[in-house]
Every structure is written in structure tokens, then in C-alpha cells.
């Protein structure tokens, strides 16, 4: 688990190296940018505290990974810096047929 290391409270949390999303510990605005362990993240959307943003490109149908496990699949292509949430992720469990 890594988090931004400064004297300020951390602004993001990246739990596992295989995770393709990180968690915001701050409110990020569209157009702002941060460095996450060498990945330059330019926010495509506003991302609120606790919400996820993509650290890698996630093609349509590919797994979204957090806790080093699959938490769902991309409903459409997700770019680095996009807000990752119910609008672009689909659960694989107990879905309406």
C-alpha cells in the first residue's frame, strides 16, 4: 500500500501495485493533475473524496481492480484520470437477466 508522502495528509491511496484504480483522499477538480508513483494523472472529471480514479487505461469489458481483486468490468473504455464509478463500471454479481 502506498500513499502520497508529505507532511500534509495524503491526497490519494493506491492499495496494491496490480490495482488499476486509486482512491481520492481529497477533492480533485477536472483539469488538475497529480503524480502517483510516477504516473502523471490529469483529471478528466471532478473526483470527490473516497471516490476512485483510473491509473491505467481500462478497455471496455476489462476488469477494474482494487484490493488486488476484480470489483467489476469497464462498461466503456476508461482513460487515465477518469472518475471510475457506477457510470462506467458494471458489477458481475446478481445482475438482472
Amino acid at each position: 500500500m502506498t500513499a502520497s508522502v508529505t507532511l500534509e495528509p495524503p491526497k490519494w491511496l493506491w492499495l496494491h501495485a496490480e490495482d488499476n484504480v486509486a482512491m481520492a483522499l481529497s477533492d480533485f477538480t477536472k483539469g488538475s493533475s497529480i503524480d502517483v508513483e510516477g504516473i502523471n494523472v490529469v483529471f478528466h472529471d471532478d473526483v470527490e473524496y473516497g471516490h476512485k480514479f483510473a491509473l491505467r487505461e481500462i478497455p471496455t469489458g476489462e476488469p477494474v481492480i482494487k484490493f488486488a481483486e476484480t470489483i467489476g468490468v469497464a462498461k466503456r473504455e476508461i482513460r487515465v484520470g477518469e472518475h471510475v464509478h457506477v457510470h462506467n463500471v458494471q458489477s458481475l454479481r446478481a445482475r438482472k437477466q
Binding site: 471516490h51 476512485k52 446478481a94
Partner: protein, 381 residues
């Protein structure tokens, strides 16, 4: 090792010393409420059930009402039943399982007002007897610790549930028992829990519970999104049930899972257990209390005011914004895990300190605000 001072009415350590007035049936609620208003120091338990339930709902109701009587935090019980046969059966069943004082009154013999007169006098002497009980120093053997996460947001899964897991591990290492629950909230994480089951039978029980739960959702023709995760989970950053579950199971620590319990079923030996139940807060907390939990830890993100009339509910959050917004419903702030690098292990120590203080009699916010939700039949997901 840590110790605390407990009552011992019936062998096991009790951290509260309640005299309960228990309704067996919705028609008895009025008598229960008025007995409890008349006799100071009694706890009324009312609910809208007790007639015509069948199958799993009947089993859950019976186990939860019997479980309340057996909970070590209960000194004695006045049962208010409607008619003689079902009331006598209930009293006989619980008397076989406990030596504590259990008496009853009937509403169908003389009516509600008569049940109040007769019941209030019985309750009076129970309260006097309970007031003579004294606490004695004890350890965590015989202590049953319920854990539930609720009002979850993305901070729950990465911080407060992990710290809860640390506390659960330590309770078990001190000879205690811990029970977690919420079958919907292991969907997507059941493979991780199954690896921790003590034997193949328990592995199968975990998978069967999940299959039955998922089938219920599919048969209802719904998408879980919006039902579980609920809207406040989604607003808090949780996207899918898998994400919620992977965060939720961290509260169960790392020890082997001894068995899968039914709703309100008492574990037979120490260790970690899973209770198969739907996930709503009041219902799960009631079920854990009926499983014999003297205390329930509620790990929360966005917060939830839920309490319980029998078992104190310790509320913990790691979300600094929730601490600012909902302080009156919280008992422990471990937001330093996210703001200043406190380790989950240190946060676990803080939780153990809070458990010891509450076990010794310190009141929780839910007890003082008066949250006493009693919901003995869980339905839904």
C-alpha cells in the same frame, strides 16, 4: 492480556445487567410498553411479529427472542405472551437453556390492563434483585464480540474495517469469540473467506449461503445496485457489491472460520464465526445480540445512528469528514489512519481500549441518545 469487570448471572460474563420485558406478539406490545413505563430500570422489547410466521421467518423470530433471554447482558426476563400454549412453550424452552429468572404474564387472561398490573409487580422484584448484582474482574473467555459494518463508504474498506479486523484477531487470541455477518456483503469475496474455513463442510456452507442470497436477488428480477450498495454507499465512492464486500470482509480479521451460524444461533465454542443473514443494520445487530454478543462493533463510513437495547454498539469511523458531521453518533475516531499514517495495528489497540472501557460500564453514544432498535426478523438482501 486485558481484563474488565463483568456480571455473571448465568456463568458467562455480562457487561450490562438488564431486566427485560419481552413481547412475544404484537398484541402484547402495549402491555410491555406500560410495564416498562411503570417500573423504572426495565428494558421493553417490542416488535410487530409473533403470529402466523412460517419457515425461515419463524425460525429467525424464535431464535432471536430466545437468544435475547440467553444473552449474558440480561439479568432476568418478564415474558408478556398472548395465549397460554405458545407462551408456556417459549418459557419452557428458555428455562431449559438458562438458570436465570424468567417469569410470564398473559394478555388473554384478564386483558392488557390486568397484564400490566400483574406484570409490573413481578418486574419490580426483578429490578430489586438485579440491583444487588456486583461486577467481578474477568478476561475475554466467554466474551462474544459481534462486528458489523454499515453506512459504508470507501474509507470503511481501506481503514476502519481493517482496524476492526485487528481487534477481532486479538479478542480471539485472548480466548474470546467473534461473529461477523451480512451474506450479501461477502458476494465477490466468498472465495477469500472459503480459504479460511476450518473444513470442507464449512466451505460448502459459505458457498451455499452466497448462492441462496444471489438467487434471491435474481428471482426478484432486480439489480443489486441501489439495493446493496445503497445510495449513501454509492455517494461515498463504493461502485459495486464486489468492492463493498472486499472491504467488508477485512473486519473479520485473519483467523479460521469455525462455522456458519443461522440468524441468532449461539456459537458452541470460541473462535471466529459467520452468521448467515441479510444485511440491514438493525436486523443484523439484533441477530448478533441474539447470538449472545455482549458488545457489537459497528464500523462505519458515512455513519448510521443504530443501537441495540441489550448489547452496547461501539461506533468506529476512519472518515474525518464523518467525525465532523456525525460526532454525536460515534464512539471512536480512528481517522488518523487516513490523515496521519496511524497503522491499522495501532488503530486496533485503540479499539481494544474502547472495548474494555465499554465492557467496564462506560456508556456508548447510542445508549445515551436512546437508540434501541430491535428488529428480530431480517428480510431482503
Amino acid at each position: 492480556m486485558r481484563d474488565y469487570a463483568a456480571y455473571r448471572v448465568d456463568g458467562r460474563p455480562g457487561i450490562r445487567n438488564h431486566v427485560v420485558v419481552l413481547s412475544l406478539n404484537s398484541f402484547c406490545n402495549r402491555a410491555v410498553e406500560l410495564i416498562a413505563e411503570t417500573v423504572r430500570g426495565t428494558v421493553p422489547l417490542v416488535h410487530p411479529f409473533g403470529r402466523n410466521e412460517i419457515g425461515v421467518y419463524r425460525e429467525r423470530l424464535e431464535r432471536s427472542l430466545e437468544g435475547v433471554v440467553l444473552n449474558p447482558n440480561v439479568h432476568s426476563v418478564l415474558v408478556v405472551g398472548y395465549e397460554p400454549q405458545s407462551t408456556e412453550e417459549f418459557v419452557e424452552t428458555v428455562r431449559k437453556a438458562t438458570a436465570k429468572r424468567v417469569e410470564s404474564v398473559l394478555v388473554l387472561e384478564g386483558g392488557t390492563m390486568n397484564a400490566i398490573r400483574v406484570g409490573a409487580e413481578k418486574a419490580l422484584w426483578m429490578v430489586i434483585a438485579a440491583s444487588e448484582a456486583r461486577r467481578e474482574t474477568t478476561g475475554f473467555e466467554g466474551f462474544v464480540f459481534g462486528v458489523k459494518c454499515g453506512g459504508s463508504d470507501a474509507t470503511s474498506g481501506v481503514a476502519s474495517n481493517a482496524a476492526t479486523g485487528e481487534a477481532v484477531d486479538r479478542i480471539i487470541e485472548m480466548g474470546g469469540t467473534a461473529i461477523f455477518s451480512e451474506t450479501t456483503e461477502i458476494l465477490g469475496a466468498e472465495h477469500i473467506l472459503a480459504r479460511r474455513a476450518v473444513n470442507e463442510n464449512v466451505v460448502q456452507k459459505i458457498y451455499r449461503a452466497v448462492e441462496a442470497n444471489e438467487k434471491m436477488a435474481m428471482d426478484a428480477g432486480i439489480d443489486l445496485l441501489g439495493v446493496n450498495p445503497v445510495p449513501d454507499n454509492i455517494r461515498g465512492g463504493i461502485t459495486t457489491i464486489e468492492e463493498k464486500s472486499l472491504g467488508a470482509i477485512l473486519k473479520a480479521g485473519t483467523h479460521p472460520i469455525q462455522d456458519v451460524l443461522g440468524y441468532g444461533e449461539h456459537p458452541k465454542k470460541p473462535g471466529l464465526y459467520f452468521m448467515d443473514s441479510p444485511s440491514a443494520a438493525s436486523e443484523v445487530v439484533t441477530g448478533l445480540s441474539s447470538c449472545g454478543a455482549q458488545m457489537i462493533l459497528f464500523s462505519t463510513g458515512t455513519c448510521n445512528p443504530v443501537g441495540n437495547p441489550i448489547s452496547p454498539v461501539l461506533k468506529v469511523t476512519s472518515n474525518p469528514r464523518t467525525v465532523a458531521r456525525m460526532r454525536e453518533h460515534l464512539d471512536l475516531d480512528i481517522s488518523a489512519v487516513l490523515t496521519s499514517g496511524m497503522s491499522a495495528r495501532d488503530a486496533g489497540d485503540r479499539i481494544i481500549d474502547a472495548i474494555v472501557a465499554i465492557a467496564n460500564g462506560k456508556l456508548t453514544t447510542a445508549e445515551v441518545v436512546g437508540h434501541m432498535e430491535f428488529a428480530p426478523i431480517p428480510v431482503g438482501l
